[in-house]
Symmetry: C2
Subunit: 366 residues, 2 copies
């Protein structure tokens, strides 16, 4: 990277994030969940979902806009299905809700081999990969999807954005096999709208097939973009629809009204979350070749995939694992000057002392 | 379609398919599962996985090659996880195994809200979409994946094929909402190897980014193709890896050895299956806008997605549902002359009377 990165101790980062959320009326427990999550994202190099972004989204759609309710209590619905829970999050902070839901799904998987928690009336949980990565680090196969905040993506062959960027996130407990959890995690659009805005600022063209203009015609000019398209044509479209369907079965309402609280107040406007955890022992047939155990078998399969001339390929999750190694080697979270400036705006908002740039060590090879 | 299609009564089709499987040593129950499955595929217009293809694959990789064992018994492994079963299929016919596994996953979902059946030592189940479509028609959310028979696909940025075409199939119970079950079902490669061979025969070029040559370089010339690529670059690669990982956790062995029984006999060579069923009530929060019930909410969400100028978009599963309508209107399964010729080769193999082309009515608008 060409940017200079400054090493911010995680405790210092977390203290500011907690103060910022407390200042906006969130409980100590919610503020700590938000700090834990953004530290986890920053440690893994996820700059698009750090605390700055989280607080910005909270301002746009969350506690300032009614989409998120500080100190909300989760209501667990009665269920006749032992391995399943459905929750009404009452618009509680997404990070706190997601951590609790994943913990519950893990408890269900411990008992039943597989467990699911569906969450209605949710608020944006930011980066699904973070939750499945943690669950995978604890030894579980984990999955989550959500309906994204805004309809920005056109259906395959369509003209008008009626789908969210609807991400899917899968995590696998592969630390014994390859040193880190494998995390498959992406939006179902080719690019995010933030990327379009970045390209517009930088005067760059988008890749072909990533966006359409106001008439639904393909465009690579970021200033002409009215909506995004799904990756892999009809295949990404199907994957995006899955989130809308799961959301609709849970209780989500029309995607074009999502987060648009001023429109049709008689409808719902919240996203929905879905979490699922599988205990790896519950899918083991116990019959691995050459007397291998399950972890050794997973290792052998991945070595085969990345062998035979494919040694320069990487596994999903590798980039994030490498970023975490750099953070750990530096002894803190790595932020650019622009990011530290943004943290200082946050500090100003909540009356905390500013961070002094010259108080931070500079990372050598971030 | 420009081909002429002949209407073959389903009973006549099924009788021949049963006779063909019985002739190869399969039990009556297995032969009936194979006939039921291929009738279902043909009724829905799935010409790539009809009985002709099924018997051809059985010849190449199955009962003639050792990959499939007629009259094998499924061994259900003991499990401490109530919502999970793991089976050793002992290379039983894939269609019979898959039907039984999906039935069991449905029973588990009825009790626990979600259930999973993992199958080791399996043999090709042909078209995953067929099983999830049936489960969705019965009112369930269903999912399956498998590791494909051969490693034909290179990892993202790789050179050598170490992944199968590894399909994913999801079915949703949307018949009340839109008239048919929504089925998202595709391979994780851009195209299938069969399509490459077809393009080579027809002298056509492949779409860009679908295949590589023997040096791992992209090519659109079907005669130069050494391996396929994943759809959506790293995103399809991640989806393909999921099948290898799930297979590896279940008990599958190295992908480059799969179905290649002559290589390293001390390893395993079988694919693995994974089935999962969710009871839609188990994910319902019960709080749908405007007093809608769950089905009405799903209908409203899908109407929103396909509204606003997107009326010409179709839902995944629509093409198959339309094909089933045409079959039902015709009163039988629709086959071309070339397909009926192939059925007559099958009839010859197992000593059944040939089908007379002039005995079949011609479909008016297939």
């Amino acid at each position: 990277m060409s940017d200079t990165f400054y090493i911010v101790p995680e405790a210092q980062h977390n203290a500011l994030v907690v103060a910022a959320y407390r200042h906006r009326g969130f409980s100590q427990e919610e503020a700590e969940a938000a700090a834990r999550f953004s530290a986890h994202a920053s440690r893994h190099g996820i700059r698009t979902h750090n605390a700055i972004k989280a607080l910005h989204l909270d301002h746009l759609f969350g506690s300032a806009a009614g989409g998120c309710k500080p100190c909300a209590e989760i209501e667990k619905k009665p269920s006749r299905f032992a391995a399943s829970e459905t929750w009404n999050a009452n618009r509680k902070l997404g990070q706190a809700t997601a951590y609790a839901a994943m913990d519950t799904a893990i408890e269900l998987a411990d008992k039943y081999g597989i467990g699911q928690v569906s969450v209605d009336n949710a608020f944006h949980y930011l980066w699904g990969g973070g939750y499945v990565m943690e669950a995978a680090s604890r030894g579980y196969i984990a999955y989550t999807n959500c309906t994204a905040a805004l309809a920005e993506v056109v259906p395959f062959m369509g003209k008008f954005p009626t789908l969210g960027t609807n991400p899917h996130s899968w995590g696998f407990p592969t630390t014994d096999a390859v040193g880190f959890p494998l995390v498959v995690d992406w939006a179902t659009s080719v690019v995010a709208m933030g990327r379009v805005q970045q390209f517009a600022r930088e005067g760059k063209q988008l890749p072909a097939g990533a966006a359409v203009d106001k008439d639904g015609k393909p465009t690579t000019d970021p200033t002409e973009v009215a909506a995004l398209t799904t990756f892999g044509a009809h295949k990404g479209y199907g994957l995006s629809l899955i989130n809308e369907l799961v959301g609709a079965f849970i209780g989500g309402s029309l995607p074009t009204l999502r987060s648009r609280w001023q429109k049709q107040p008689e409808e719902k406007h919240t996203p929905a979350f879905y979490f699922q955890v599988i205990h790896p022992e519950a899918i083991s047939g116990g019959d691995f070749a050459l007397g291998r155990d399950q972890a050794a078998n997973v290792q052998a399969v991945l070595a085969d995939v990345l062998g035979h001339g494919n040694e320069s390929c990487i596994l999903p999750g590798q980039i994030e694992a490498d970023a975490a190694k750099r953070s750990d080697a530096a002894g803190g979270l790595l932020f650019s000057k622009a990011e530290i400036d943004a943290f200082n705006e946050i500090a100003h908002e909540c009356g905390e002392p500013a961070w002094r740039l010259d108080a931070f060590a500079v990372a050598k090879d971030a």
